[in-house]
């Protein structure tokens, strides 16, 4: 992983994304039929298992940044919450960054935006677990990271492209690796 504090911060908070995320993912959506029909009945576009897996992998990335945002903004929140969205190197990385913020008494605010760009199945990893690669642009321009004097320590650029490896574990799809590819 190639994240530093600013990139993490910039990529950190993601609550304001539902629309963007929905626009970028193949999550099942309701498709209202024309109003001329007396009793409208929604038709649901069903996804194949592979498509559903991709959608879940994308959501895994969105959930990760959601949790990272929340933990950055609330220094008293337990970092145990990361366990539900990350594993492996990514879990270690985000844990370390967030403990670093707290050691430096930095508090976040705002939310970052996850712009999903691509997702594809990546086969099984060394442990035989299914994996997917998700690429997203994380926009943290609407976030801050302030020290105890109120000074914002973040600086541009605020948009970084991340490539995440999502792995299927027993309970959920978790982000196992996160790599910054560059600005976006």
């Amino acid at each position: 992983m190639l994240l530093n504090r600013n990139t993490l911060r910039r990529a950190a908070l993601a609550l304001a994304l539902p629309l963007l995320v929905a626009a970028c993912t193949a999550t099942p959506s309701l498709d209202p039929t024309p109003s001329s029909t007396p009793t409208p009945t929604p038709s649901v576009t069903s996804l194949s298992p592979a498509e559903q897996d991709l959608a879940n992998a994308r959501q895994g990335v969105v959930k990760l940044w959601d949790v990272v945002d929340r933990l950055t903004n609330d220094p008293q929140a337990s970092l145990q919450d990361l366990d539900a969205v990350a594993s492996g190197d990514a879990l270690e990385f985000f844990r370390k960054n967030l403990t670093g913020y707290r050691l430096e008494q930095l508090t976040g605010s705002g939310t970052s935006i996850v712009e999903l760009q691509s997702a594809e199945a990546a086969g099984n990893n060394a442990d035989g677990l299914r994996t997917w690669t998700v690429t997203a642009c994380i926009d943290t321009s609407k976030t801050k990271l302030v020290d105890t004097s109120g000074k914002n320590v973040t600086a541009p650029p605020y948009r970084f492209q991340h490539r995440s490896i999502v792995v299927e574990r027993a309970t959920a799809l978790l982000v196992d690796q996160d790599q910054v590819l560059g600005t976006c």
Partner: protein
């Protein structure tokens, strides 16, 4: 004692011209180090001394295979390597780590279904709203722990090592005067475990132990006139029956009269091992005394 004997009436000039003991052609029985040479019975340096001050010095310099106690930090922020409440600092996790006590039940998510290993706390010092327990995690082995070199230093501290008590003739007391050209005997008086070794102590923390054994390797005698004699052993205690003989193990002969401060630097070597690591730590302890060397003059009258 020797000096008393030498000062007695009736000394002959011949007695003042005792020659040195023939050098032993065999190799030195002790390691004299790079700054001394074996003269047949002792390591001897005739160069100017290092000027080390007296008193007790716990030295952490020099020596190979030594592990310096580590220092801990977060970025540019120095962090104590150990926190009494939170455990040991982990640089890889940026928090203090210690075994969770009590251990969560096996049904806890932190175990991840594993049966071996243990659960550890990752915590930060409290600063306002910041700090406290951050998370718990599983690890098959202790991810952070005491520095074995630090434990070794603790073990050394518990030994209460002392420099040797200087044994010397002429003695450091009023009326005791040596003579130019006469042998001065040097030895470690009443050596015991604390002043000569070997002595072994252990230090433990977080369930791990480091054991250290210390013993004196050599004594570096600074005679106060610029000469240095290094002796690998304790020296030989002078007795009156030895008369004006040279010490068979550790001695010196002054060439000028004067009052000299003699320093005896005990050079300890402490070998430690534990936690899969080992090393040696040199310890230097110094004692000093003052002696007076006079010159015998023959006055011819009539």
């Amino acid at each position: 004692m020797l000096i008393r004997a030498l000062a007695a009436v009736g000394l002959t000039v011949g007695a003042l011209l005792l020659g040195p003991t023939p050098a032993n052609a065999a190799g030195p029985p002790v390691d004299c180090g790079s700054d001394a040479k074996w003269d047949g019975r002792q390591c001897k340096i005739t160069a100017t001394n290092s000027g080390r001050s007296g008193g007790t010095t716990l030295s952490d310099s020099g020596g190979g295979g030594r592990s310096a106690p580590r220092t801990c930090s977060f970025g540019s922020i120095p962090m104590p390597c150990q926190d009494a409440q939170l455990g040991w600092w982990s640089a890889s996790k940026s928090c203090y780590i210690q075994l969770s006590d009590p251990q969560p039940p096996q049904s806890a998510a932190a175990w991840g279904g594993r049966a071996e290993g243990a659960i550890y706390d990752c915590a930060l010092p409290r600063r306002g709203v910041f700090g406290g327990l951050q998370y718990r995690f599983w690890s098959s082995t202790a991810p952070a722990g005491p520095d074995p070199a630090v434990l070794a230093q603790q073990a050394i501290a518990s030994m209460n090592l002392r420099p040797i008590s200087i044994g010397i003739v002429p003695e450091d007391r009023p009326g005791s005067v040596g003579l130019v050209g006469m042998p001065v005997w040097l030895w470690a008086a009443s050596p015991d475990a604390q002043s000569w070794g070997p002595i072994t102590r252990s230090a433990s923390a977080s369930g791990v132990t480091v054991t250290a054994t210390a013993k004196v390797q050599r004594v570096r005698w600074q005679l106060g006139d610029g000469a240095v004699v290094v002796c690998g052993g304790k020296g030989t205690v002078y007795e009156d029956r030895f008369g004006k003989a040279d010490s068979p193990t550790c001695g010196y002969t002054y060439r000028k009269q004067g009052t000299y401060t003699v320093r005896a630097e005990s050079q300890w070597s402490v070998a430690w091992s534990g936690m899969g690591a080992s090393g040696t730590i040199p310890v230097l302890l110094t004692d000093s005394t003052t002696i007076t060397i006079g010159e015998l003059q023959v006055i011819t009258t009539g």
